[in-house]
Each structure stands twice: as C-alpha cells, then as structure tokens.
C-alpha cells in the first residue's frame, strides 16, 4: 500500500484576515510601577496592520498550517545533500532544560560552566570525529562555517604576506562554496568535472598555480562519490602554497571510517543539522562548526572556548583571529542537541550510522539503476544521483518529484548537482529501514512505468495535495512578499 492518499484537510486564511479589533491573545501582569513616557517625537502610533486575535485563533492557525507540511516525522524525506535523518525527541527535551534554555550568554563564566563544558566537550568530539586539531562552534550554519573557514584560510595567507586571488571549486560544488569564496574577496575558478564525477590529482595539478589560495572540495562529493585522490590532491595544493577547504556537508558517509583531517584537508565545516541529527526547522536553525589544523588555530573566530585546570573559559584574546561572525557563541541550542546525539550514539553508533547510510544509498541505487539513468558509476557512498535521461513520455525530473508527492514521499533534491542534467539526488540516511526504501523504490519504478503509459499522471502531479503546482514565474515577475491591508 503506497502511503499517499487523500483525506480531509482544512483551509486557513492569513492570520491578518482573522483580526478583529479588541480581540486578545496575550496576558500581562498588571503594571506595578508608575507608567512612563518617552520624549515626544520618539513614539509611534500602534503598529498598523498587526493582527488582533485570540489564543485559540493562533493555535488553530498554526495547527492547520502545519498540516500542509511534510516533515521527516511524516515519512521518507530523501532530500539529497541535506541528510534528513530522524531528529531524536530526547534532544528536543535536552535543549529545553532550564539550565540550557534560560542561561543568558553574558552570565558570569563561573555561573555558566555547564554550558561551557558542553561546548568544550562537543568541540573535542567533533575534532576526534574529523581528525582536526581544533573546532569552533560559532557559525550558525554550513555556509556560515564556510565563511569562517575561508576567512581563516585568507587570514593565514595574509599573515604570510600571500596575495593570492583565486579559489578553485569543482563544478559539482554546492552554491554556497563559490558564494563564500566571493565573500572572502576571492575570484572563483571552476573546475569542470568532465564526466568522471570525481576530481583527479592531474586536473587539480593543471589548475594549481601561484595565485591559487585554496581548493574547495566536498568529500564525498555532491554526487555521493568519494574523492579517492584526495590525499594526492591536498599534497598538490599544499605544494603549490594553497590550502584545502572541505565542505563537510556529507560527513554522514564517513564517521568512524575516515577522517578529513587525516586526508590532508586544512579546514572543514560540519553541519550539525545534517550529520548530527538536529532538526532542519523548516529552513533552520542549524549550526556549522569548523575544524582546522593546528596551523590555522591562531585564526579562529573569537571567543574560543578553552579549559584552564578544572574551569572552562571564553578566550577573547586571539590577535590573529578573523574576529567574530555573529553575536555570542553560536547556536547553542543546536549544540545541545548534537551533543545529546553523540552521547547517545557513541563511537560505534556513529560508525554504524555511516555504514547504514551508505548501505541504504547503495540499496536504492541497486534497485533503481535498471530503470533510471545513473551517470556516474563509481561506488556510491551516502547518496546517489540519477538523471532523467531515460524517462519516457516527455517526463522530466520535476514531474517525477511531483508524482512522488502523490505517492506519499518527499521528493529527492532535484536539478543539483548542476553537472547532471535533470539530477535526481537521493540521500536516504541511516534512519530508514529496508521496508521504507522498498516502498520508495517501488514508487520510483511505478512512476517510470507511468511515464511510459500515462505521462499525464506525472505532468499533472501532484493531484492529491491541497495546493497544486504553483505559478512561480508570476511570483518572481510581480513579487508579492508582504500582505497589505488593502488587499
């Protein structure tokens, strides 16, 4: 039985359309001090347009809205590159413990040792998992981590007086990689992957020159393939005076198997919201810690969490630091969840997670390969990328994705990586059972059949959702980004 079916769902207007003057959804204690006034001219009128609704209005509004969403808890969510693994519930509870949730970031250090200890231990665990010498937890997400990391690379060059201007980035890379390099003032030099799907040492050697500050690589890369030449590649970059940045988004393939720090990589970010099971929150928050080699430690963002005897401290005095990337110390609530996850899994559990993630991806690959075009034939690790080349009936990747919704699955990542035309990027993660993978593969195979026999099922999909395919063109041409009272 396929999971997708249709059932009763409830419409819901914008919260602004519920507003009725005088309705209240809040309570405040009676004011027990004299009222005060600000100097004239500083005070606004009431906030025009703000809703006036009761508590039950708010509760129903968001309850109904939520019912239009699909999360990991709803079902299989094989969004490639995003590692949509199960988000353990005890981690949510952990982050809400009073001593974590309600500790102010400027609490004296002597009175926030628990928070500092957690961060220190998490840093150490991530360092051990990745093989780096030190880890900063400050970045709020992967891209923020990239920024931290690339700034450190640049600071290292600057400290040496290097004036290099270029960063090499394979065309399989995620968009954040070139965007980050640009944010650090670098010119991006794309490396074409040319079919193989992996970088060869030779290619990198070709591109390497005196002006290259760094190579940004993703390993396993966005095709789910391990960059087997990585060690040689790092050597080449190092010999050429550059450093190697690794996008660690795909670390879920490697825990306990191999460590980026041991491969010659200099800097890598982690995505706690991927590998370490913290929820994706409908877009965030995540956390993007960065691991570095000893050589780059002096450039870490401040403050650094350190241990002095039995006490944990925040150290602000790091003269070569790239500075801070945000306020306070990072998304602490996300760190709590990740730490809870690491404590639950242990070394063997994390390794098992990577193994099963890889097993799952290869199982899907084996089941779909007979029908879907697989452009790269190296052994897959944690994800597998098909193309829509072999689809019949003028059906494309988008159609398959939408049709999967009718079957009750969240679609894979589509049209990324860019090097695969019509890419279908499937990352199952280790928290899915064979039973679910089979359901999904059966659906994918059935859809390929439908493309042959009833392509309209794909073109018109999704048909079971409350909202059908949306007009994205008009949305972008005449953007309506804000509700206005006149509407």
């Amino acid at each position: 039985m396929r999971p997708g079916t249709s059932g009763l769902q409830l419409n819901e207007k914008l919260i602004f359309d519920h507003s009725d003057p005088g309705r209240k959804g809040y309570s405040l204690p009676r004011l027990d001090v004299p009222a005060a006034v600000l100097p004239e001219g500083l005070v606004r009128a009431e906030v025009e347009g703000f809703p006036e609704v009761s508590e039950v209005d708010v509760v129903r509004h968001f309850t109904r809205l939520s019912s239009w969403n699909y999360g990991v808890d709803s079902g299989f969510y094989p969004l490639g590159s995003c590692t949509m693994k199960y988000n353990p519930k005890v981690n949510e509870k952990a982050a809400r413990i009073d001593g974590f949730a309600n500790c102010h970031p400027y609490t004296p250090q002597s009175l926030s040792q628990g928070a500092l200890a957690l961060m220190y231990d998490l840093q150490a665990a991530l360092a051990e998992i990745s093989g780096f010498s030190a880890v900063t937890l400050q970045p709020a997400a992967g891209a923020h981590g990239e920024l931290a990391g690339m700034l450190m690379i640049r600071a290292w060059h600057e400290a040496k007086g290097n004036r290099r201007t270029k960063v090499l980035i394979p065309d399989t890379a995620h968009g954040t990689n070139p965007a980050t390099a640009a944010l650090c003032g670098y010119d991006v030099v794309p490396i074409e992957s040319k079919g193989a799907g992996v970088l060869t040492a030779e290619t990198v050697a070709e591109f390497m020159d005196d002006d290259v500050a760094a190579l940004m690589v993703t390993n396993p890369n966005t095709l789910g393939l391990f960059e087997s030449d990585i060690k040689k590649i790092c050597d080449i970059v190092h010999e050429g005076g550059g450093l190697v940045y690794c996008d660690g988004a795909n670390l879920n393939a490697l825990m306990g198997i191999a460590r980026p720090g041991d491969m010659g990589i200099d800097v890598m970010h982690f995505n706690l919201h991927k590998t370490f099971s913290t929820p994706h929150g409908g877009g965030g928050p995540g956390a993007g810690p960065v691991g570095v080699t000893a050589e780059l430690e002096p450039f870490m963002p401040t403050p650094v969490i350190a241990r002095e005897g039995d006490a944990y401290t925040l150290q602000f005095d790091l003269p070569q630091s790239v500075g801070r990337l945000r306020s306070f110390y990072g998304n602490f609530g996300i760190m709590v969840r990740a730490w809870a996850y690491i404590l639950t899994m242990g070394a063997a559990g994390l390794k098992r997670a990577s193994e099963m993630a890889v097993l799952n991806a290869n199982y899907i690959r084996a089941r779909l390969e007979p029908v879907y075009d697989l452009p790269h034939r190296h052994r897959s690790l944690h994800e597998v990328v098909f193309s829509d080349k072999d689809l019949a009936g003028d059906c494309h990747t988008l159609d398959v994705a939408k049709r999967l919704i009718d079957y009750g699955f969240h679609p894979p990542t589509i049209y990324f990586p860019l090097v695969v035309k019509g890419a279908i990027m499937i990352e199952p993660t280790e928290t899915e059972s064979m039973e679910i993978l089979d359901e999904f593969c059966d659906a994918m195979l059935a859809i390929a059949e439908e493309a042959k026999n009833s392509p309209e099922l794909l073109h018109e999909a999704p048909r079971l959702t409350r909202i059908k395919r949306l007009d994205e063109t008009t949305a972008a041409r005449q953007p309506c980004l804000c509700w206005l009272p006149e509407e």
Partner: protein
C-alpha cells in the same frame, strides 16, 4: 540502536541485492591509508535515562532566570514566552521539515514565512523582509554589504554605540572586501555625535549603521540622522537588538531608514546561551533584488487557489553562485516561526503594552538606582529597557557579592570597552516585578554604601 532500524537480516538482504559481500566493500573507494583503523575516542554511549541525567546535571551548573534574579540584557533578553509557542513549534511537520523547496507539501512553512515577512515589515515600517538571517549581528553585516552593493560605495560609518558584537561581525564580513569602516563617536547623552557624523560622511560613504536602541539602551534621534545620511547619498542602516522597543518607538521606516536589521530573540525565544535566535532583515521595495536571504511570495496554483513559493531565487547562491547577494543557505526558519507566533499572540495591543511595561519598569529602576549614593546614570539620553549605570568603587566586587545573593545585576561594560571600567548595563523587562527591582536597589545600596 533505536535510531537505526536495520536488523542483521535486513543488512544481509540488502548487501545481496547490491551484490557485495560486506559493508566493508561499500567503502572500496576509500583508500586504505585514509582509513581510521581504530575506534574513535568518544564517551561511551548512554541510554536515554543516563543521557537525561547527565545533561540535567550539566545544565544545573548554569545560572538562569529561574534561580537568579537577572538583569542581564545587552542583545539577549529575558521576556515571557507564552506556552502556546512551544506547543506549536513542537509540531513535527514544522520542525522536521527543511527549506520549502517543494511548495505543494510546504505550504505551512511558506504561509508562515509570508506572515513573518509581513509582521517584520509592519513593525519596522519597511516594504520587504526576508525569511530570516542567522542573528542580528550577521544580519547587520549583510546589511552593510547590501548598502555597499546598492550605492556602489565602499565606506561605512559605524556608530560607536553600536552593539560591539555587531560591529565585530561587520568587520569580519568586510575584512577582505576592501571596505573602509570607521566609527562615529557618541556624546554625553549616549547618542550619536551628529557633528562627527556630518564630518565623517562623504561621497564614498555607503551607509551609516546605528543601533536603535543602541548598545547603551539609548534611543537615537533616527529621523535627523536619516536626513543627514541621505543628504550625502548614503543609506541609513538601523540595527535593532531589542525589537520589543518597536512596539513603542517610531518605526525605523517612518524615520527614514533604508535597511533595518535586528535580533528577534525577544519574540518568543529563550536566551539559550546566545542562540538560536533570528536575524531579521527588512528593506525598501526598490532594493529587493539585492537583498540577501530567502523570500517567500504569494502566487496561485494551477487551479487558481492562492499559495506561496520561494521566489526571486536568482539572488541566491544556489542559482547565482559566486554572484549571489549572500552565501546564506540554511537560515533560522524555526525561530522566525516563533517570532511569528509571538507577534500574532501579542498583536497590535500586546506589543504596545509589553513595550510600555518594559519602559515603565526600566524607568522605575533607573530613577531608584540613580538616586543611590555612588551610583550615576552614565548617559542622559532617553532609554527603553536598558541603561548604563556607573558605580563608584570596585564594580567587580559588588557584582560578585550580588551573585552570592543570587542576583545578576547587569552586564559589566568592561567586557566590551576599556574606557568604562565601572559601568554596568542593566536591563529591566516586564518579567521584573516591582519587588524584584526594589531588591536590586536595596542590594546595590548596601553594596555601594
């Protein structure tokens, strides 16, 4: 392992289907010399009950507003959080989903973001808001970059009273972009020195960045700053670390701000040792295509039904790559959702009333403390819910004494600046009862007397 469903039998069958003999074979592309070859050195795995116990012990070492009477603010604020919010954000359809790439099964997130964008526009008095940034400081840095893009200028003036961590984030983001940053001093009222501003502005100036309220809790005269800044062809970037103030203060948009950023943690999020909160980012309609971050727009579906999509994605890294307006990808969606819920619950009357309570309580505290011998208000300008007090004598000793009494009296300014060794930033919110404030005053009296 309760998070991994594979039985040994499953593994066997799956390996057979794949056509390999062992898990090991799946990693054949990982060269032997790169293999770890040992078990990672991590703490022994814990069962759920052990985990909870251990974390509770750790958390117990942290002082919080439950056990302490706390007047800490300075960018993270202790406001009341209605119970509704945690109930609603715990709906897993929200928090276990990701960025709404597939709009047909993400309308919940999308409509909520559209509402959030609208609320932020209404509150800031701006035309467009994005779906969220990491936090106030990084949003501020992105605003500086956007101002530079929009004006094609490279010089940016930062108010000396800007939250120091916001300033540092701006410096970090600008570090290698050939920007020129300089600080404009503040006067005895704690407000920006308008003369110095006029002197600092020139035809290379992209923007002035000013806090509202600023780091000293002082409310800047935004309207006149806007006039001055605009006269030089520059943009006014307003950074709002405590947006509860916007329930009462003239909106930055109304004052003439061009970009308004800030930290939304006050809107229903716990302080959580500094994160996650949410950076908000709002601007004028005409500059929308150079904004960073995701945007949600309203459109219609094939059947003509209203719906929402991610839009104007051509600004973003996944389309534009190195030419994107920002490198941001994951944002702080769940926190934006919390802010949305908080603002809906409070609504038009509530945001006003809570702001008025903050003001009233802070004024009450300010007056009472300023009346103490040996204690003086550092700045004369109008404040919202924070103010700086200067204390005669050893502030560190005094604070330690108060800590022993389970009172966290404020954030010492010495943490941020060498020139204010005896100053304390004190934050008072609707959470403080009169008796709490009186207690602080009494203890300060005892301590400074």
């Amino acid at each position: 392992m309760r998070y991994i469903p594979h039985t040994e039998e499953d593994v066997r069958q799956m390996l057979a289907t794949i056509g390999v003999d062992s898990i090991e074979d799946l990693f054949e592309e990982v060269p032997d010399d790169l293999r770890l070859g040992r078990e990672m050195e991590l703490p022994e795995p814990l069962s759920e009950s052990e985990l909870v116990r251990q974390l509770q012990e750790l958390a117990g070492q942290n002082a919080t507003s439950s056990g302490y009477l706390s007047f800490l603010g300075g960018g993270a604020y202790n406001h009341f959080i209605p119970a509704v919010i945690d109930q609603l954000i715990s709906r897993s359809e929200f928090y276990t989903a990701y960025t709404p790439y597939q709009p047909e099964i993400s309308q919940g997130t999308l409509q909520a973001v559209f509402e959030y964008q609208t609320l932020i526009c209404q509150l800031t008095g701006m035309d467009v808001s994005n779906a969220s940034m990491y936090d106030g400081a990084s949003a501020c840095a992105e605003a500086v970059l956007m101002a530079a893009r929009a004006t094609r200028r490279k010089k940016v003036l930062l108010a000396g009273s800007l939250h120091p961590e916001y300033r540092e984030a701006v410096e970090t983001y600008c570090r290698y972009l050939e920007m020129e940053l300089s600080q404009i001093p503040f006067g005895a009222d704690g407000r920006l020195d308008e003369k110095a501003l006029a002197a600092g502005l020139d035809d290379k100036t992209a923007a002035l960045v000013v806090g509202y309220p600023n780091f000293f809790g002082v409310v800047e005269g935004l309207t006149s700053l806007a006039v001055t800044v605009h006269a030089a062809g520059a943009l006014l970037v307003t950074a709002v670390p405590e947006p509860i103030a916007l329930g009462l203060l003239k909106s930055p948009g109304e004052c003439g701000a061009d970009i308004v950023v800030g930290e939304g943690q006050s809107f229903g999020m716990p302080v959580s040792f500094g994160g996650p909160g949410v950076g908000f980012f709002a601007a004028r309609q005409k500059t929308v295509r150079s904004m960073p971050g995701r945007l949600v727009g309203r459109t219609t579906d094939r059947e003509g039904k209203d719906g929402f999509v991610l839009t104007l994605a051509t600004r973003e890294q996944h389309i534009r790559r190195e030419k994107a307006t920002s490198n941001i990808c994951s944002n702080q969606g769940m926190c934006a959702l919390m802010a949305n819920m908080y603002l809906c619950l409070l609504g038009k009357k509530g945001i006003r009333e809570v702001a008025e309570q903050n003001l009233a309580k802070a004024e009450y505290a300010k007056k009472a403390l300023a009346a103490l011998p040996g204690v003086a208000l550092a700045f004369s300008g109008p404040t919202f819910n924070e103010f700086v007090m200067t204390v005669d004598g050893d502030l560190g000793r005094l604070l330690q004494e108060l800590e022993r009494q389970k009172v966290l009296a404020g954030v010492p300014m010495s943490r941020f600046r060498d020139d204010m060794p005896n100053s304390l930033l004190i934050c008072v919110t609707e959470q403080h009862r009169r008796q709490d404030i009186d207690r602080l005053v009494d203890l300060m009296k005892g301590g400074t007397a």
